[in-house]
């Protein structure tokens, strides 16, 4: 564990533009938080299984049956930008 966080890298992954001011402020605040969560290092968790879901449940599935969906106009009425029956987005730059 470490108290440092590469804010710019993480913000890039999370697709959030940060101002220099935010980089500084969040960096300090999150470093502070990491210092607190680092308390977990004191717990011996080597032989402990991880809990992803705390209530025991397995194999929850649905049968393969068609259900009604949404009307296209309802769907596209929420689109920030549409063109015909499509959602429109700005130029995609290949990564």
């Amino acid at each position: 564990m470490s108290d440092t966080i590469d804010i710019r890298y993480v913000a890039k992954l999370a697709r959030i533009a940060l101002t220099d001011d935010e980089v500084e402020r969040f960096g300090a605040q999150l470093g502070d938080l990491l210092a607190h969560v680092n308390a977990l290092a004191a717990l011996d968790t080597n032989a402990v299984p991880a809990t992803a879901q705390v209530v025991e449940s397995r194999n929850v599935e649905r049968s393969d049956e068609v259900r009604p969906g949404l009307d296209r106009e309802v769907v596209l009425s929420q689109a920030p930008q549409r063109q015909g029956g499509f959602f429109r987005v700005p130029r995609i730059i290949a990564e």
Binding site: A14, I16, L33, V37, A39, P49, L70, R91
Partner: protein
């Protein structure tokens, strides 16, 4: 008219079912109350005037047709992170400020089916991240007991609405204490059921493995009726649990004979100051006075709850909130290419607390840190759950404070970590998936304040023991009468 709104949800439903009052009358009264006080209280982001009247008329028609509904005509405040078809559903965020939900959350649908009438969509900390409602980007909600103080959070709008009788019942969601803490701050029953007991379908996710919907109510009976109406498997939510619901209403009781109530050795209320310490000690004595055997239990890893929670919840939230990208709905800030569009949209759409949590969560999941942070937190979660299992071998219920302070003033917690500490007592139960509630247990005039503010006692039970939990809370509420003290309306009405 005012009298109607002083009634509990159970009393309203009884009257409507008996035909002595129409749902339409109650809803008109509630809408009038909203018009009178919400300018000050700020509980609602959206008031559903027309929708509520239509719904009330429909309830009256069902009653006339012979239906008997457990929540007939009960005015409901719905936290604005739950979808209701055709209504704006904002999560208190600029990124969803104008989003109209095209479907209804299962829990809401079940309450509406039980006769509730949604009065409005209630304010919250943005995406339910916060403990004061101050993180809402769309409005300020004030505590009806003292307008200079916060209502708690994140379900602060629902709590304030119920406390100001702008609704008889509130729906909240609780991830680390977001129903229980505002319940305590607003002198209500704030009840979080077992994880998976109430469907999350239509609840806009903050942390999926922790989020749970529950009621905010002025009486335990109301909370129990709401729970019975909402609980149960939903095929639309794979994490909802497919097992029969034991109804809570028949389990409501008036004493605690034969119950062992555990006090947590590690939770020393002396740390909360003399006044609060005295009130909680009195509460424990009141439990014993009702016939409970008070025993000591230990939760040795509960102190790690906060650290565990502040890795797991942000990690899940960082992924859950990715979908707010300006492509299909919600805010978009235009840019030349899609990457820039994402970054600008999310920069403009999310507030600072949401950004902090997305960033820390992204960090905790990122390459090289995943095992050290996320996996370790999941293991700590196992230990915390095991602690409760061991504790419940020696008791039926656990009692402790719901929050470490009464409602505080606006801007009192400018440092994020001090705000996070508000959930110190509620987070361990969330991590273990347990049902837990806060029930009013006394009053204190905070330092620098003039008005007495309520305090909440937290009771928690093993998974799926909601009837036992609500039954015991009911006995405590009836014996102590703290919950009956409503916020005076005089100061809430604009003159």
């Amino acid at each position: 008219m005012g009298d109607l709104l002083e009634r509990s949800a159970a009393e309203i439903a009884r009257a409507v079912n008996a035909g002595t009052v129409a749902a339409a009358e109650i809803v008109e009264a509630a809408l009038a109350r909203v018009d009178a006080v919400d300018g000050r209280v700020g509980a609602y982001l959206t008031v559903l005037h027309d929708g509520a009247r239509e719904r009330a008329a429909a309830v009256d028609a069902r009653i006339r047709a012979g239906a008997r509904l457990p929540l007939a005509g009960v005015p409901l405040a719905v936290k604005d992170n739950m979808c209701v078809t055709g209504t704006r559903t904002t999560c208190g965020s600029k990124i969803l400020e104008d989003w109209i939900a095209p479907y209804t959350a299962t829990a809401v649908a079940r309450l509406l089916d039980a006769g509730c009438v949604a009065i409005g969509k209630a304010n919250l900390d943005e995406f339910a991240m916060g403990s004061s409602c101050e993180n809402s980007a769309l409005g300020v909600t004030r505590n009806p007991y003292d307008l200079s103080r916060v209502p708690g959070g994140s379900s602060g709008g629902s709590a304030a609405a119920v406390a100001a009788r702008e609704a008889a019942l509130g729906l909240g969601s609780d991830t680390g204490g977001s129903i229980r803490e505002p319940g305590a701050f607003c002198n209500l029953i704030g009840f979080k059921p077992t994880y998976g007991r109430v469907s999350r379908y239509g609840l806009i996710a903050f942390a999926s493995s922790l989020d749970q919907i529950g009621p905010l109510a002025r009486t335990v009976e109301d909370a129990a009726i709401a729970f019975d109406a909402m609980a149960g498997y939903d095929p639309m939510d794979a994490t909802s649990i497919d097992r029969p619901v034991e109804p809570a209403v028949p389990a409501l009781r008036t004493d605690l004979k034969g119950l062992r109530i555990g006090l947590v050795r590690e939770f020393d209320t002396a740390e909360l100051g003399n006044e609060l310490d005295a009130i909680y000690r009195r509460a424990y004595d009141e439990l014993a006075g009702l016939g409970a055997e008070v025993v000591e239990v230990s939760l040795p890893t509960a102190d790690y709850g906060l650290a565990t929670y502040y890795l797991i919840a942000p990690a899940e939230c960082s992924s859950n909130l990715s979908r707010f990208d300006g492509v299909r709905y919600g805010l978009r800030v235009e840019a030349a290419d899609v990457q820039a569009m994402y970054e600008k949209t999310r920069a403009a759409g999310f507030g600072p607390e949401v950004k902090r949590r997305i960033l820390i969560g992204t960090h905790a999941l990122s390459s090289g840190y995943y095992d050290a942070y996320y996996v370790r937190a999941q293991k700590a979660r196992t230990l915390i759950a095991r602690d409760f299992e061991a504790a419940f071998a020696g008791c039926d219920l656990i009692a402790c404070p719901a929050a470490s302070t009464p409602a505080f003033q606006f801007n009192a917690k400018s440092d994020p970590y001090s705000m996070y500490m508000m959930d110190y007592y509620t987070i361990p139960m969330s991590l273990a998936g347990l049902p837990a509630l806060s029930v009013p247990c006394g009053w204190v005039v905070p330092a620098g304040g003039t008005e007495p503010m309520p305090l909440g006692l937290q009771l928690s039970a093993p998974q799926f023991a909601e009837p036992l939990l609500l039954g015991a809370a009911h006995a405590y509420e009836r014996a102590t009468l703290y919950a009956g003290r409503h916020a005076p309306l005089t100061g809430l009405v604009k003159t």
